[in-house]
């Protein structure tokens, strides 16, 4: 499989804090790649750096093209969409129009009517058609996270970076979320997801990379990585390891 995203030596520094140091990650086409790590390890910063939302050093290639240093809207228009961990929908606009906004600004030059039509389809697909016409402000947090995915999909990306979009779902609801992300991947969209729900990571990811203090400490299949002593120590904690029988 060819690499869709190739990140080499990515480093980000915030004032006195080295948030990412020399991180290299390659995502193959059609892969679901999990990115995990303790809070503050640099997970979100990685997505921010790749999508151009924060300044970084190092090289980021998307489909063979150097996108290092490009502003976020240009990265998005190239087909690399992302969601935000802190969701900020336009609260007074309907859910439908929030998604239509994602379609409207993805660089395809759609009309508002076309964007809305596409948004209808996307909402149907993510299971939010029933709330399409309510203001985004009335959604629960879990629905807002799902709305982020819908906005990303509306841009018709070839790769999607998902930042904790399943937070706030209980074990039963996670099943539906897994099915959605599987269907996205089945369409050939490469997915990189930051996640703290191990049920999602182990049930979904082809490969998992782990960040700790801004450095890559593990890279492998979910089974191997979640059993890795350094990962248990830094991230999972012993209680998880005991429950999972690792």
């Amino acid at each position: 499989m060819s690499a869709v995203l190739e990140v080499r030596g990515l480093s980000v520094r915030f004032a006195g804090l080295q948030a990412l140091s020399e991180v290299s990650v390659v995502a193959a086409a059609g892969e679901v790649l999990g990115l995990i790590g303790p809070n503050g390890a640099g997970n979100t910063t990685f997505i921010n750096a790749v999508s151009g939302a924060v300044k970084s050093r190092g090289r980021v290639e998307f489909e063979g093209r150097d996108i290092s240093g490009l502003p976020p809207y240009r990265v998005a228009r190239l087909g690399l969409a992302r969601t935000y961990q802190i969701v900020q929908p336009f609260p007074a606009m309907t859910v439908l129009d929030n998604v239509a906004a994602g379609a409207l600004f993805c660089g395809e030059g759609l009309s508002l009517a076309q964007a809305r039509a596409r948004a209808e389809g996307v909402l149907e697909r993510v299971g939010m058609a029933a709330v399409a016409r309510v203001p985004a402000a009335s959604l629960t947090l879990a629905q807002r996270k799902r709305l982020e995915v819908a906005k990303g999909l509306a841009a018709r990306p070839r790769m999607l970076l998902l930042d904790e979009v399943n937070a706030g779902l209980n074990s039963t609801e996670i099943e539906g979320a897994l099915a959605l992300i599987r269907s996205i991947a089945a369409e050939g969209i490469t997915v990189l997801l930051v996640e703290h729900l191990m049920k999602v990571v182990s049930g979904l990811c082809d490969r998992v990379v782990v960040l700790h203090h801004g450095r890559l400490i593990a890279d492998g299949t979910p089974g191997d990585v979640l059993a890795d002593a350094a990962v248990v120590e830094a991230y999972l904690g012993r209680r998880y390891a005991e429950r999972a029988g690792v």
Partner: protein, 275 residues
Amino acid sequence: MRGWRGPPTPALPTRVRETRVGAKRGKVFWFFSSEKNFFVVFRLLLEISSLEAGYGSVQVLWGVDLQMSPGIACLIGANGVGKTTLLRTLSGLLPARAGTIRFCGESLEALRADEILARGVAHVPEGRRLFASLSVEDNLLMGAYQTRSGAKRGLARAYDLFPRLKERRRQDAATLSGGEQQMCAIARGLMSEPRLLLIDELSLGLAPRLVDELAASLRGLPTLGTSVLLVEQDVATALDLAAEGFVLDRGVVTLSGPASALATDARVREAYLGI
């Protein structure tokens, strides 16, 4: 009425003048005195009857009945059944449309949010809601705005509970990682030394190890006089941490009892634990 489980602990001290109401209604169980103060422990910390609330034309709570003893309790249920709405109604962020809320024998349903806070109910909202552009320490101090004298003690306690926040106390709260923000939000809720802390989605966005650490910190709160009502999607963790649990379904409490019993209840296991 359900019986008290376990021996009386000196949790939730309240001054004796507040007990009159409860005593009249036969809700007071133990009086005991320390050197200076005369304390009383309520058998029921929180008593909610037929509580209704909603937003505009949408009614969310359809007559919630709930009785919580001092200690840690959890509220579980699917997304959209009204868990957050219930917490918002308890803390006065949303007006109750009908029903009563009694907290340590006092009625809360007609009070404003600041009056409810003054009576000892603090709320850690979903999504943290820190004041961006304020430092971590200033965020914490906002949690103690009603008690100048307690602020210093509150800060010491917060930093003791979450040493990471002490390291970052001068930093803008917006620059914290997700987990640190959650710590800051919980610490801010504790700054007023509440008798009841409402926590909406403790584990949201937190690494498994950090969830364990936070749970361990919360476990100690009842002995410091703070009970906790926790909304949590990680039902296994919630039932492990809590002494009692309530299941909310479409705006009413459908099941309640000791957390250990709920954890083995077939309905709970199927609906929320995915077993």
